[in-house]
Symmetry: C2
Subunit: 469 residues, 2 copies
């Protein structure tokens, strides 16, 4: 009994000492990020010197070169590239959306005269992957719907020859705008295909945001194999959507004119970039932290997902700067082609399987460079319990939320291979002010918020390395 | 025993039902704020139509008129004004700060010639309450110090006739920038007086921010009665401070030229504005929620503290919109003169005492319109326990932190009278990007973050009303 007591006291003491040491190490990690951080200046370069970097573009190629250098400068033990072929969609010249009013005729004395109200330009952008219009563009009546399902009720008769306008707004009563996004995004993703089934000539989608503003939001869409013809699909700003909807309700006679010359070119060669610290005790156990290097072309991709890339590289830099020699192998990965194909994420998982690598944890940062609040998680109950046991260590940094579900897109192929996954969960309210728009720019990044996120990732990687996962 | 069991089960059931009802009501409060909120449009008006509103200014007078209307539009049962006299400091024309290089002489053949390097303008602003310079301005050598204490070591010999430059930066390893502010602000507040004691002719203070940027931060300062003469005091942007410090280190010969024509005019009459919902059961028990209506003149005062004012008014609007009939009296207060005198806060407490009012809780919002994370608290352990018992109800909204200490400036006179106090604790990282600068503008406000803060205040007021406090 006495021995048991001693053992217990010893165990508790060791645990206390461990907790205290961890607490000291986390403080050092956060101080390093806040005082000597490189993620903000790295993002400045990626956003302002390279800019928007859609897969297959020259900017994406430059971003790959930059990521290699940045990973080396962070003192990775080694930096490698993983080749993959990526889609190459190009927007072409600026899209044109316009409301063209019908000629109104009226009597003037004994003559009938016509009056043409000037047409009104609308702020639109092509959805990623959309086909373009003909050179002349499409001009047609607009049919407003609130859901994809509505199209099945309306049927071909009412849809054929028209431009379908998906106008279901975000449900702003959702506390987390990502949930509102999840409830609205089917309009963008499958709306064009279903409209095409019923003979629509194009689609306009209300932008995916909580706000009423002037920015059209691009984003991926998908043509089903079963549709008769691919039709052009664009997004309209929420302010534009409100205006267009009002115009329809007012009974004004008009057509919508849409011109886009986007197209999909042959696949291009591209790369994931991987920076590594080799594990000192269990080098075969791998912890991955990553973000995606590609972005849409509308903004400079600072939040989506330059932030995740520079934070992941910062994890390596912080560990090296603090002289942490991880037991396990730590990898920072800049994934290619998250936005329109996930080819990088798939390639990473494929190579991991091929090389029989053992990933014990994969973490993504792809929810913007905002102040961290926690991490999401998908995995076993035991592992969730382990994660939650670290909560008191992270609370001093305002990181408290370990109950959410979910991983990240780039690491979802690993998740399928039963790797436990997490995603950094930053403050979500502002994300859709920027997402996929010209408003996703470096000036909307707060240096300290970005650094706090990087430190949170480094802290979790540190703990998962110390205790296994 | 059986009876006790029944009573216990009944008590637990009632408690569960109460918790469930509270949970439903809080969901309604947040939905009302997010779907039908008026705080964002109210702030738009206050910031963009009225603008910066330093005490005693015509804008502050307009803000009082506006607040009366806004409180009525929120459906307050009654709206009153509380008269108070406030300081009236005016900045006058734009301040001028300049580095004037000394004429360098050198030999050219057998002659001595002089060369004057062009002077360099520096981005400065007068500190609130400072005296101006003479018409000609002050031109003197600059003495850089890192602390007020350093002046005591240097003594009159080294300080007399010089411009003292306080240049201790924020300690950015502090996780909460408010803590870094607390450690640096003595330079601004008492620096000028101590420098004056030792014969300095003016002071320059490094701006109070985590960032390196171009915005000089104004803010209150205090002349001690004991000083021989009031000397002009200004702030310089952090970028300017770094440059000035580098110039001193480089050994370049220069003087600093400072011209300000700010002055303090006679006190002006002004007002707190109070909107009220009369309590249905205990009308004599008062719960106050407030922010301050005055701001500095450099920006439009959106974060400091337009946000707090519109959120407080929103508490009234939400309760009325949802048909909540509070048991206790709820007051939204727009306090006047927080920035340079606290006359409104003092007046409110004075009248409360005079009228023998019983305040059971006072809450302030004066930390910017960012996403809410919790509330600070000062009061008894029992009341803290009560506050923390509401944590599970607020967790779904990302409001989790109820451990912090502190109240708010405007309600500190109530706190002295033993009223328990709280302050809304929003995400703190970005506050000093804006605080007291031309960068405190409406465009840096996120609508949903502001609304979430208002809903949090309404939720806490609702719970304190339901259960007493």
């Amino acid at each position: 009994m006495k021995t048991l007591k001693t053992v217990l006291i010893l165990a508790v003491s060791i645990n206390c000492v461990a907790q205290k040491n961890d607490s000291i190490m986390l403080r050092r990690i956060f101080s390093e990020a806040l005082m000597n951080g490189k993620c903000y200046s790295n993002l400045d370069y990626l956003s302002n010197k390279i800019g928007g970097r859609i897969s297959g573009s020259p900017q994406a190629a430059k971003a790959v070169e930059w990521a290699e250098i940045a990973m080396k400068e962070a003192n990775s033990d080694n930096v490698t590239k993983q080749e993959c072929m990526v889609p190459h969609w190009v927007r072409g010249e600026k899209e044109k959306g316009e409301i063209v009013f019908k000629v109104e005729t009226f009597a003037k004395g004994d003559k009938t005269v016509g009056r043409q109200r000037p047409s009104e330009p609308m702020n639109i952008c092509a959805l990623g992957g959309s086909v373009g219009t003909t050179k002349e563009g499409v001009t047609a009546d607009v049919l407003e719907v609130k859901s994809v399902e509505e199209l099945y009720k309306l049927g071909t008769d009412k849809i054929k020859g028209k431009i379908v306008f998906f106008n279901r707004p975000f449900d702003n009563s959702e506390i987390d705008p990502f949930d509102a996004y999840g409830k609205a995004v089917d309009q963008r993703w499958k709306g064009p295909s279903i409209a095409a089934k019923f003979g629509a000539v194009a689609t306009i989608c209300r932008s995916m945001t909580t706000r009423i503003d002037d920015f059209p939001h691009t984003g991926g869409m998908n043509y089903l194999d079963s549709i008769p013809e691919k039709i052009p699909a664009c997004a309209i700003s929420t302010k534009g959507a409100e205006y267009l909807s009002g115009l329809i309700k007012s009974g004004d006679h008009f057509k919508f004119h849409l011109k886009m010359n986007c197209q999909t070119l042959p696949d291009e060669k591209s790369y994931n970039v991987v920076g590594e610290i080799k594990g000192s005790e269990f080098p075969d156990e791998i912890i991955v932290v990553g973000g995606h290097l590609d972005s849409w072309d509308t903004g400079d991709g600072s939040h989506d997902d330059g932030a995740g890339v520079v934070q992941s590289i910062e994890v390596i830099r912080i560990m090296k700067a603090l002289g942490i020699k991880p037991k396990r192998t730590i990898r920072a990965v800049a994934f290619m082609n998250e936005e329109n194909g996930l080819r990088g994420g798939k390639k990473y998982a494929e190579l991991a399987e091929q090389n029989k690598e053992k990933h014990i944890l994969a973490i993504e940062s792809d929810r913007g460079g905002f102040a961290p609040r926690g991490v999401t998680f998908e995995g076993s109950v035991e592992k969730r319990t382990k994660l939650k046991s670290w909560a008191p260590l992270l609370m001093p940094y305002g990181v408290y939320d370990f109950d959410r579900k979910g991983g990240g897109a780039d690491i979802s192929p690993l998740e399928k291979d039963a790797v436990p996954v997490m995603e950094l969960y930053p403050e979500p309210q502002r994300y859709f002010d920027h997402h996929h728009t010209a408003n996703d720019t470096f000036q909307s990044i707060d240096k300290r918020e970005l650094e706090m996120g990087a430190a949170t990732l480094a802290a979790i990687v540190y703990l998962a390395d110390q205790y296994g996962f």
